[in-house]
Amino acid sequence: MSVFAEMPPKNYELLPKGGDADGELLEISMGPHHPSTHGVFRMDVVLDGERVVKLKPVFGYLHRNHEKIAEGTTYLGSMPYTDRLDYFCSMTNNWAYALSVEKLAGLQVPERAEYIRVIVAELTRLQNHTCLIGFFVQDMGALGTPLMYAFREREKILDLFEELTGARMMYNYMRFGGLRCDVTADWLARLAALVEGYDKFLDEFELLFNENEILLARTQGVGILSKELAINASITGPMLRACGVNYDIRKVDKYGIYDRFDFKIPLGEHGDLYDRFMIRVLEMRESIKILRQALRDIPAGPFMDPKAKLRGFRPKAGEAYGRIEAAKGELGFYLISDGSPNPYRYRVRPPSFINLTILEDMCLGQHISDAVIILGSVDIVLGEVDR
């Protein structure tokens, strides 16, 4: 294999000849209940010493045929089910689904609802990236403490969400043509306080990690993904931008009201683990910028389109594909309507499932301990991978 061409020669000569350790390949099954796999996920790994020679991901342990369930229920009825896809980012799942149905039925969303959608989506991105970094560092061996810092901040965001929707994780917040309930002035004031405090937390977090020698040694030059392969393999989200490809659906599609905000798209250079880590840190800074602008500009008004129907909702026959930039990549919903109250076809385009396509390419020739953090950097949630 070409990967091995530039590697130092194997040191098996040092081992005694004969016996079990004589350069034989070892096949192990990592998972499904392995703490490093972020859920119920299995990798069939073939090892040459500590180097990965072959890696096949195995899915389906959480498969419940979400799409079939959604085809058997009404359009609005599957809104709570979308929460369970990527259970870290229920708000963005809600938004992607609502956006697709609004495209299918041609619904308009009031201004205030658009602002609130942006606010909750960016908060979701903040807490997802914060936790991801916590998990990522945990995978590298910094057990416990950094993750608890991340979860401390996440808890503040979840408190806000709980106050708004009544649930910590399964929000069921968006409706076709608006939202389920409005935010209060008090809520916005507390959000503003959180946003102001978040920069300080990020400074602290960066101070902890950005120049940490172990982190640099473990991540720089590891798990490199080339630009061309990333595009060809439909990689999206921070993974794609870490390779230096400028593609953010918030800028490309300008869905919702994202064209009104001034923010930048951080790009990586090498496509290695360090870039993927830093992209997330920088994206959080940009999210804070968007939140500040949204809090400044949010108008008063209705939060739900008065013409939108909740009961007896039957879109005209046809199809629509809507997509948003979720925290993990492009989250899309493809819907076909035949004019009945249920969707004829309901498809989720799950970003973390498709981002796993190139897991083997990134891990080949790396150490098995690096394969763990490479998987961590993909940022998967098995509720979405298996659906």
Binding site: L104, Y321, I354, T357
Partner: protein
């Protein structure tokens, strides 16, 4: 971006044998699609990816859709002359949609930042000729998604490097996303003696094991 009509014309000029069809979409989204024939799908996909104007380097979404045979009866009023008198007679007209499985590809361009162009392919039937060419050689991102369509719909992708079940377990027999899929009485090998499951299994057995 060029319109679908322009793309169709260009493809047909390159390969006169290729059969393309525009599929209308009456919903407000207005996303129309391009139905391509299976024989020239791979060439067309390569053209869409490599053409400098179109440059669809990113295949976002791949999915299957099941269309079982559908016979719709519509009543049409027709004027006929009976015994020299003009009368309005109601007639039932039967329209039959043949059965097929469909694969849908959503293409975008990262370089040109346009899209989507929606490609569709159809199989001959839903049983023994459920074949379409795989586009994984063109876009690597189709790999897992085509496997998923194979797993859940039974669409066979010719030329796919690793066509196995992906979400269901390997021993599973049926295709659960099809419209006519019938859930088993019990997911265990033998019906467990819970009342509900046993009732279902008995009813099932009375029909000779047919759903």
């Amino acid at each position: 971006m060029e319109t679908l009509e322009q793309i169709k014309a260009r493809v047909e000029a390159l390969w006169p044998n290729a059969r393309l069809e525009l599929i209308a979409n009456e919903s407000p989204s207005g996303q129309r699609s391009l139905l391509v024939d299976n024989a020239s799908a791979l060439r067309i996909a390569e053209f869409l990816r490599d053409d400098p104007e179109l440059h669809f380097d990113y295949c976002s979404n791949v999915t299957g859709v099941d269309w079982p045979e559908l016979v719709t009866q519509t009543k049409v009023k027709k004027k006929t002359v009976v015994d020299g008198v003009e009368k309005e007679v109601e007639e039932t007209v039967e329209t039959r949609r043949p059965e097929y499985l469909e694969v849908v590809y959503h293409l975008y361009s990262i370089a040109k930042k346009h899209g989507p162009v929606i490609l569709r392919m159809r199989t001959e039937n839903r049983a023994d000729k459920a074949n379409v060419p795989s586009l994984t050689p063109i876009w690597r991102g189709c790999e897992f998604q085509e496997r998923e369509a194979f797993d859940l719909y039974g669409i066979v992708f010719d030329g796919h490097p690793d066509l196995r079940r992906i979400l269901m377990w390997d021993e599973f027999k049926d295709f659960p996303m099809r419209r006519d899929y019938v859930e088993p009485d019990d997911y265990e090998y033998e019906p467990t003696p819970h009342d509900e499951v046993m009732e279902k299994a008995k009813a099932h057995a009375a029909q000779g094991g047919k759903p």
